[in-house]
């Protein structure tokens, strides 16, 4: 799998999930909130591919979502990039040590799901804090009852199907730095 193919897969995944998040999910969900599909993608990429892939997907997905929602451009992408960075650093602390194979963390499916939910909640709380900081907060009660809790619950529901799908699209791969690992 070349770097170009891998990047293209990420771009397509971002595009498809943004379109679904904006066009399909608001119609299909019972509340005003919609599941955060990009947060799911970012966390799964952080687990399966590392921080560059997660940060790239987060940046592009965030910019598209901000642009389509007439939101301050860069706000969501900043949160997604930070999410990818933090999840990857937490789960792959040893990945940058040297030339030996960089193995993805061996997480059970349940733990992957838990990371997705925790990541979604973190993004929603981060968004509420950021909006508060820029003077556009709408109150803790509204944020909790109308935005954060519905979004996390709906994301959990959709993630039941999306997480296995992303596991299939982005299978575990091992990269060995042959030149560096070879004896001198």
């Amino acid at each position: 799998m070349t770097l170009v193919t891998e990047t293209l897969k990420i771009l397509v995944a971002v595009f498809v999930l943004v379109v679904l998040q904006v066009s399909a999910m608001p119609q299909l969900m019972p509340t005003d909130a919609a599941p955060d599909l990009i947060a799911v993608l970012v966390v799964m990429l952080a687990i399966r591919r590392g921080m560059e892939a997660a940060a790239l997907a987060g940046f592009l997905g965030g910019v598209l979502l901000d642009a389509l929602a007439d939101q301050h451009l860069g706000l969501t992408s900043l949160l997604y990039v930070l999410l990818g960075l933090l999840v990857a650093m937490r789960l792959q602390p040893a990945e940058a040590v040297g030339p030996l194979p960089s193995l993805p963390p061996m997480l059970s499916h349940a733990r992957q799901f838990a990371w997705v939910i925790a990541g979604t909640a973190a993004v929603q709380v981060g968004m509420a804090v950021m909006l508060g900081l820029v003077g556009e907060g709408v109150g803790v009660r509204f944020e909790l009852t109308q935005v954060i809790i519905p979004t996390v619950l709906e994301t959990a529901l959709v993630a039941l199907a999306l997480v296995p799908l992303l596991r299939w699209v982005f299978p575990v791969r091992i990269r060995i730095d042959v030149a560096a690992a070879a004896p001198a």
């Binding site: 509340t31 560059e52 940046f59 389509l68 007439d70 992408s77 900043l78 990039v81 509204f142």
Partner: protein
């Protein structure tokens, strides 16, 4: 080891650049609003996603209609037996007919509005809703007409309701084939409006409760406002808020008038929009710029 270190450096550089790019975009969006580079990015994003969004929206619409239809049946418990019999007889064609009938009714309401004299001075374009904001904090929708149909930023958008049409928002971003509409319940929205008989005027802002209602503020204490009064766009400036809408577009109905403190020169009026903003499928764009 050298290559391993290079990979580490590359990783840090990529993530650092993405963080810096996010912060730069954020800074620019606060400085430029919807203009300049930010406006360009918004238009590009809209142009890229609009065609696919339209298809996805059309594909999911029957599921939504089917779901609404089904929940409607559940609500009518007292008619359960009769409906069950009807349900057995109804096939996909009947469901589709019902969906088509609902849509036809909404289109007739929009046509009724178009034929009224409210904004007849302006050209009006029909549009389908192909997307909506994914957060309750940002109340926007995406429609399938753009600059190719002569739509411009600032054009008012009308939604259907049983006696005609009502204001739902205004266009804020335009690409060639799609536009983003900021709804009147968005936090950044403000509409100069008044009671239809001219007895009061003020500014319509989204209610703090975020329940889809509007608050009409800056209404003088001595102005006479009654529950049930119709609220329309005023068409002129109120306290420095420039009117973006032609006069006379129906917006909603007064549902309550607040009792404010003694000495307060103004009172707050709660207004319920005529149009159900959570169920928009077809709208009308009034081309104010082309008027």
């Amino acid at each position: 080891m050298l290559l391993g270190n290079n990979r580490l450096i590359r990783r840090r550089v990529i993530v650092g650049l993405l963080l810096a790019a996010s912060l730069t975009l954020l800074t620019l969006s606060f400085r430029e609003g919807n203009g300049g580079v930010i406006g360009g990015i918004q238009r590009t994003a809209l142009a890229i996603t609009a065609p696919v969004s339209g298809v996805v929206h059309r594909v999911t619409q029957p599921f939504v209609d089917g779901w609404s239809w089904t929940t409607g049946l559940v609500d009518a418990r007292q008619e359960n037996t009769r409906l069950k019999e009807q349900l057995k007889e109804m096939g996909a064609r009947e469901v589709q007919n019902q969906v088509s009938q609902d849509r036809l009714t909404k289109l007739e309401e929009l046509l009724q509005y178009k034929q009224s004299n409210v904004t007849s001075d302006y050209e009006q374009v029909g549009a389908a809703v192909i997307g909506q904001a994914s957060t309750p904090l940002k109340q926007t929708i995406t429609i399938n007409v753009g600059s190719g149909a002569g739509i411009e930023v600032g054009d008012p958008v009308i939604g259907p309701y049983k006696d005609g049409g009502g204001l739902i928002g205004r266009v804020v971003v335009v690409s060639g084939s799609a536009s983003t509409v900021r709804l009147i319940t968005d936090r950044d929205s403000g509409v100069t409006a008044g009671i239809v008989d001219g007895s009061a005027k003020g500014i319509l802002l989204p209610s703090d409760a975020g329940d889809g209602l509007l608050s009409m503020e800056n209404v003088k204490q001595e102005d006479v406002v009654n529950q049930g009064d119709t609220v329309i766009t005023s068409g002129y400036d109120v306290k420095g808020y420039p009117s973006l809408f032609p006069r006379g577009i129906p917006v909603g109905r007064v549902t309550s008038v607040s009792q404010t403190d003694v000495g307060d020169p103004t009172k707050v009026i709660q207004v319920t929009p005529f149009v159900d903003l959570s169920d928009l499928s077809d709208v009308l764009v009034v081309k104010v710029g082309a008027g």
